[in-house]
């Protein structure tokens, strides 16, 4: 397990540092750390001009992302870490942050804190103090705090903690220059924060354990190591056992004494100590005035509706339904517009006769057209709408409302977020399953995400069934898919072992989505998708043309005909269609058109065949990008199991559907 985490960590870092590799090396590394949903991603975007996705829900950033800040002649690499509440980690995303800070030794940590919830945020700040790393505090969202009547004396906070404190409003870029200055100063001087003593009972014991540790325990600073030993942190105890066995024994004894005195485990006692200190500090630097805006009561009345036993569910239905309908309507409009204009430039003639080069070029062009006209039009409106919902904070309310239902699938409310993201593209949705705490829940959620009709599958259903059979059969396919998610979720829940933990989630306040943020975020998502999708399309297009001219299509079709023809009742040419569809599901539509030489599918396939084709295309195997993500997150075996079982399921359902539908249609 630790290996897997380290591996993920490296993966994250390699991905993150990729832009730096092609540029001159950087002078310093800075890590942004802090509680979830305090504006770390917004801060890094302002510092580096990067396009980190932001959103008003805890758990947005699931892997380290990095950008470069150029300031006063220094090149500084800034790493955005996933939200962390405490070093006594509870979820894998917190593990990533903890490992980065304790193992990778960034030159400076920027602790982003939410001005409106200073006390809770200071808990983590105090843990950074214990660690003794050079850090800076960015008190973010000071504008929202002021609306609630909360004002922070940053000067005083700085004196109490012995670290620079910069007030910021990252979303509007306020305080970013001062923050950059402070980062450079700190990176050059690396001053350690003040040691903040806890209550005597605990502090004495920390002192005694510290005294038994060697000058450099090789795990972390002495005081920090002593505290972690008292808390009985398994990783630290294991490491310290070789280097300082007396200290471990003493810590164990002291921990036992503390437990006896308080009747609570030492981890809880230390949390209490930190909160005691956080409370004291927060009270002395915070000034409460009467709130200026009626925002709080507004958030309250929206919640009264959003969490209402009837209206709340209706609202979820309307919002998700609205998201999908909006996507279809706007998407179809843009798609038609683009198709008309692009094909007037160079009409698509699949498989032109001529030289091999001509065939390949036309294949590439066909792939490009398909990508631009199929993906962008549908994904753009989807993400635009989704970003608005995300930014408003409503996603967390959906989580809360559907928590109970998700229990039946062995998941909890947070899992609804990846599932909704899955309607757009499966790849980022699979990655976002990391917001779940236990490995079992992550796997279950990711498995269900692979079955959610993503925009690619939606396109298949729309362009094949809705266009050539009727809209009701398309909706029925959609309903079958959702039913499958629920049904397979139940089965998988029973089949996979591991623990399921309950929901504990921070609830952000609602805010009105900020237009530049929504646009930037939509663009960031679309851009990353285009980078993956368009090359896949062009390569796919070339591969189809190439395979055709090389005469490879017939052998593939023949090999697959027992399944495609005998079981599914489809024409023999669909074998190769399904093979290419593994690259991206919409390629099935493209290939079908290319092979039949027409886009009017009703002229070549019967209604039953159209429905069966769409059904199979929808369920069989996740696309290649999803499989890669799955391998990375869960390993080869699980990825293979998911792929194989979904393919088998698709064949079974397709076989049954073909026979049943033939009776009624």
């Amino acid at each position: 397990m630790p290996d897997q985490k380290r591996h993920r960590m490296r993966q994250g870092m390699r991905h993150g540092s990729a832009p730096a590799d092609s540029c001159p090396p950087f002078d310093f590394t800075v890590a942004l750390a802090g509680n979830a949903n305090v504006g770390k991603s917004a801060t890094i975007n302002q510092l580096t001009g990067a396009e980190q996705a932001t959103g008003n829900w805890p758990g947005k950033t699931v892997e380290c992302a990095a950008g470069i800040l150029l300031h006063n002649g220094y090149r500084i690499r800034i790493v955005d870490l996933p939200g962390i509440y405490s070093f006594s980690t509870y979820s894998t995303e917190e593990m990533v942050s903890r490992e980065f800070i304790t193992r990778n030794h960034p030159d400076v940590v920027v602790n982003v804190v939410d001005a409106a919830a200073l006390e809770r945020n200071l808990f983590f700040t105090l843990q950074l103090s214990e660690l003794g790393v050079p850090f800076i505090i960015a008190v973010n969202q000071t504008d929202l705090a002021a609306e609630k009547g909360i004002f922070i004396d940053t000067q005083k906070l700085s004196e109490l903690l012995g670290v620079p404190v910069i007030p910021t409003v990252a979303i509007h870029g306020k305080g970013i220059v001062s923050l950059s200055d402070a980062i450079v100063d700190m990176a050059k001087n690396r001053t350690a924060p003040l040691v903040l003593p806890y209550g005597r009972e605990v502090e004495d014991r920390i002192g005694q354990v510290t005294a038994l540790l060697p000058a450099d325990p090789g795990i972390g600073p002495r005081r920090w190591t002593a505290i972690r030993l008292l808390e009985n942190d398994p990783d630290i105890v294991r490491l310290a056992e070789e280097r300082a066995p007396e200290a471990v024994a003493a810590a164990h004894r002291h921990a036992h004494e503390l437990e006896k005195m308080h009747g609570e485990p030492p981890g809880i006692i230390l949390s209490g100590e930190r909160y005691h200190a956080a409370e004291r500090i927060a009270q002395s630097v915070m000034e409460m005035r009467s709130p200026s805006a009626g925002d709080i009561s507004l958030s309250d009345s929206i919640d009264r509706l959003a969490l209402h036993p009837v209206a709340g569910y209706l609202l979820i239905f309307l919002v998700i339904g609205g998201l999908l309908i909006w996507t279809f309507i706007i998407g179809a409009g843009i798609s038609e517009f683009l198709t008309r204009h692009l094909s007037s430039i160079a009409p698509v003639h699949p498989f032109v006769a001529g030289s091999a080069t001509d065939i390949l070029v036309s294949g590439a062009w066909m792939g490009l057209i398909a990508g631009v006209t199929l993906i962008v039009p549908y994904v753009l409106p989807f993400y635009l709408f989704l970003c608005v919902i995300e930014d408003s904070g409503y996603l967390t309310r959906i989580s809360m409302m559907l928590d109970k239902g998700m229990h039946r699938l062995g998941l909890h409310g947070k899992a609804i977020i990846p599932l909704i993201l899955g309607f757009g593209c499966t790849v980022p949705a699979c990655l976002s399953c990391r917001i779940l705490e236990s490995d079992k829940q992550k796997l279950l959620a990711a498995f269900l995400v692979t079955l959610i009709p993503c925009s690619a599958r939606t396109i298949v259903i729309l362009s094949i069934v809705a266009t050539f059979v009727n809209i009701w059969w398309a909706l029925a396919l959609y309903a079958v898919d959702i039913l499958l998610v629920i049904l397979l979720g139940r089965i998988a829940f029973k089949a996979v072992d591991g623990e399921s933990v309950g929901l504990i989630m921070e609830m952000p306040d609602y805010h009105v989505p900020f237009v530049p943020v929504v646009l930037a975020q939509t663009w960031a998502r679309i851009k990353s998708l285009i980078w993956i999708v368009l090359p896949a399309y062009v390569i796919g297009g070339v591969a189809i043309s190439g395979a055709y001219s090389a005469g490879l299509l017939d052998p593939i079709n023949a090999a697959l005909s027992p399944v495609t023809v005998t079981l599914l009742g489809l024409p023999v040419v669909t074998g190769v269609v399904f093979v290419f569809g593994i690259v991206r599901k919409e390629i099935t539509v493209l290939t079908l058109a290319a092979l039949f030489g027409t886009t009017v599918f009703s002229s070549v396939l019967s209604p039953v065949q159209l429905i069966v084709f769409a059904l199979v295309a929808m369920i069989y195997t996740p696309c290649i990008s999803t499989i890669f993500v799955f391998i990375r997150e869960f390993g080869w075996i699980k990825a293979a199991a998911v792929t194989a079982s979904e393919t088998a399921l698709a064949i079974i359902l397709g076989t049954v559907a073909f026979r049943l539908l033939s009776l009624i249609m």
Binding site: E119, E259, Y313, T396, M400, K404, L503
Partner: protein
């Protein structure tokens, strides 16, 4: 009226009150399978002893004293159910009736010993929560390991945060449950003696939303059932 009958009445009234608001004579009669006339008589008796507030034709509600007794019996009942099904391996459907008869004979000492032996279970075999005893310990761990002697009684009974009314607040008395979950809650600021208030409950036994240290958290209902608070007197 024997103490056994008294306790049965209080338990029945407690259940009905939770469901309907007040316990009507007819509902009590139906629940205990006795004649409505004897219920009326018993209610008058209980009212004289200060266990219930009884208004003829409207029904009965428990007083604080009555509620305390009812909760104590409920706790014993559910502990016994766990004992019967987990230790003696008696079939789940039979344990209720059995426990019903045994609960009245249990002494405080036996109850405490039973709770320790069963490792302070938080739920009965049917899934209903078992309230902690009202002894002054900050955590069940201390009591279980024998390191902390539960001696004094709490002045006021404590209730799960999920039983608060929306808008109502209290201070955290103690949290029990899985160690990892308790640690996480304390990292999020839910430490003993911290002020906490219930903001709202999601429908269908869904999560509850609480406010603590100026932040809002949604917490699974079963986890929230294990967070116990003592009530803060209403501000004038």
């Amino acid at each position: 009226m024997t103490s056994e009958q008294l306790e049965e009445y209080l338990e029945a009234i407690y259940d009905i009150e939770n469901k309907d608001g007040t316990a009507k004579t007819s509902s009590i009669a139906k629940c205990l399978r006795v004649a409505p006339a004897s219920v009326t008589e018993a209610l008058q008796n209980l009212s004289e002893k200060g266990y219930v507030k009884y208004e003829p034709y409207r029904g009965a509600t428990l007083t604080d004293q009555g509620k305390e007794t009812a909760l104590r019996v409920k706790r014993r009942h559910r502990l016994l159910e766990v004992f019967l099904s987990d230790v003696l391996k008696i079939q789940c459907e039979n344990v209720h009736d059995e426990a019903c008869k045994m609960e009245h004979a249990l002494s405080d000492e036996t109850e405490c010993a039973l709770c320790k032996m069963l490792h302070a279970p938080s739920r009965c075999p049917h899934g209903s929560p078992i309230l902690p005893c009202n002894q002054e310990v900050s955590d069940c761990t201390g009591c279980l390991t024998g390191e902390q002697k539960p001696s004094e009684l709490r002045e006021k009974p404590i209730i799960p945060v999920s039983d608060l009314e929306p808008g109502q607040g209290g201070t955290i008395a103690f949290i029990r449950g899985d160690r990892k979950v308790v640690q996480r809650l304390s990292d999020l600021g839910l430490t003993v003696k911290t002020a906490i208030s219930l903001l709202r409950k999601a429908p269908m036994e869904g999560p509850v939303e609480i406010a603590v240290r100026k932040t809002k958290l949604a917490i699974d209902r079963t986890i929230a059932d294990d967070i116990f608070v003592s009530l803060v007197p209403e501000k004038a």
